[in-house]
Symmetry: C2
């Protein structure tokens, strides 16, 4: 497989990049956040948190890529979210004040900011715009989750996989060439994101290649014909 391009090699992120948080704070609040957060680095396949753990900090993904998945019944996992910078991760459990009900694992090397619970709750109290941002994030993610429930239960395999590729494009974008999906998942992850077996993900990817909708080179996927891909996604 060709080398992956590291888009962040020259820009080590800081918590100031988390605009959802930092942009709405007063100078005093910014000071508090800057002095009261930790930075951790994770490498590929590291576990960031696991189902059952109780969160004690709010986590922001500064750089890298993360999958969030629930362990299913027949052994198959369901990826419920693919997170991109700079968004909060594990924040659903944090704000529900309960345990994580999914696990987060690194797809691409990550920088993660940890803001202690007490600090976050002080911010929620002092800064209603921050609260509004959290509310809006949760509301949008709930909308996405319900949409996915319907598509994952009702669309056929081709539609589900096509949709997943389009969702990944929306989340991570394309590389400079305008066709290469800027995320490299195993067939198994792709299957777990699309609610199908790994075999069927492989098979269906192959048919997309045969139909000249995409090309596949290892884990690198190039979208050749996005209109057709959207049509496949729509028709189910």
């Amino acid at each position: 497989m060709p080398r992956r391009i590291d888009n962040n090699f020259n820009t080590e992120p800081t918590i100031k990049d988390v605009s959802q948080l930092y942009d709405v704070l007063t100078d005093e609040e910014k000071e508090k956040v800057l002095n009261n957060h930790k930075v951790k680095h994770f490498k590929k396949n590291d576990v960031i948190y696991q189902e059952g753990e109780i969160p004690d900090s709010l986590l922001c993904l500064g750089s890298g890529k993360v999958k969030v998945y629930k362990v299913g019944f027949g052994g198959r996992d369901q990826i419920v979210r693919m997170a991109n910078p700079t968004s909060f991760i594990g924040y659903r459990a944090f704000f529900a004040e309960g345990p994580h009900v999914a696990s987060a694992v690194v797809i691409e090397p990550c920088t993660i900011f940890y803001i202690p619970k007490a600090v976050v709750y002080e911010l929620l109290e002092s800064n209603h715009q921050f609260s509004l941002n959290i509310i809006r994030s949760l509301a949008q993610e709930l909308g996405f989750s319900r949409y996915r429930t319907v598509t994952l239960t009702q669309k056929h395999i081709r539609g589900r996989l096509a949709e997943s590729l389009l969702v990944l494009k929306d989340i991570y974008g394309l590389e400079d060439d305008g066709v290469t999906l800027n995320v490299y998942l195993s067939r198994e992850d792709l299957a777990n994101f699309s609610n199908m077996t790994t075999s069927n993900a492989i098979r269906t990817l192959s048919t997309f290649v045969n139909e000249k909708v995409i090309t596949v080179d290892g884990r690198i996927i190039r979208i050749l014909d996005i209109e057709t891909l959207e049509k496949i996604s729509k028709l189910g």
Copy 2:
């Protein structure tokens, strides 16, 4: 079919009953809400809101029962929520500041309180505990939605229907006899809640009756053996 019992015949609800809202307000804020809300009544099968509409008020269900569903691809609807008093409805779209992506229809006669957008945003600004309640609600509902995504995609028909019956029991409870589900859905609604065809909902209900797990009398469902029902739900 026997007469349905109206649990609210002697208690017309008011907005003061919406504890998630009213209990955290200051006297001044209570006054504002009391003077600035509308009450509407709906009868069975009425549409409260529809996919695509833009919400301009926050809605609270004072009494009654509501189904929230998304129109699927193959014509089959997916019920994404069954709402009970006294909870907010349609609030996901309201707080995401976008259109409704699902429709809400009355299952049992409803009283609904409408609080105008401007008033809600004033409250969010002045009362951080109210914001926290909204955040917690959304976070919990997102957790439920993701859980359902996994069960609806991975459990088999029996497991899905068993789980739906248990979820309905958790939401609406049982009648005084301790066995009768306190909600009366058509087989079609039950199917749309459980991601299956109406035929299969009918068929599977019958097998549960044969196995003496439940009894069915029209739309009245009695849970005879909840341990077995939980086992069926767990095993998929």
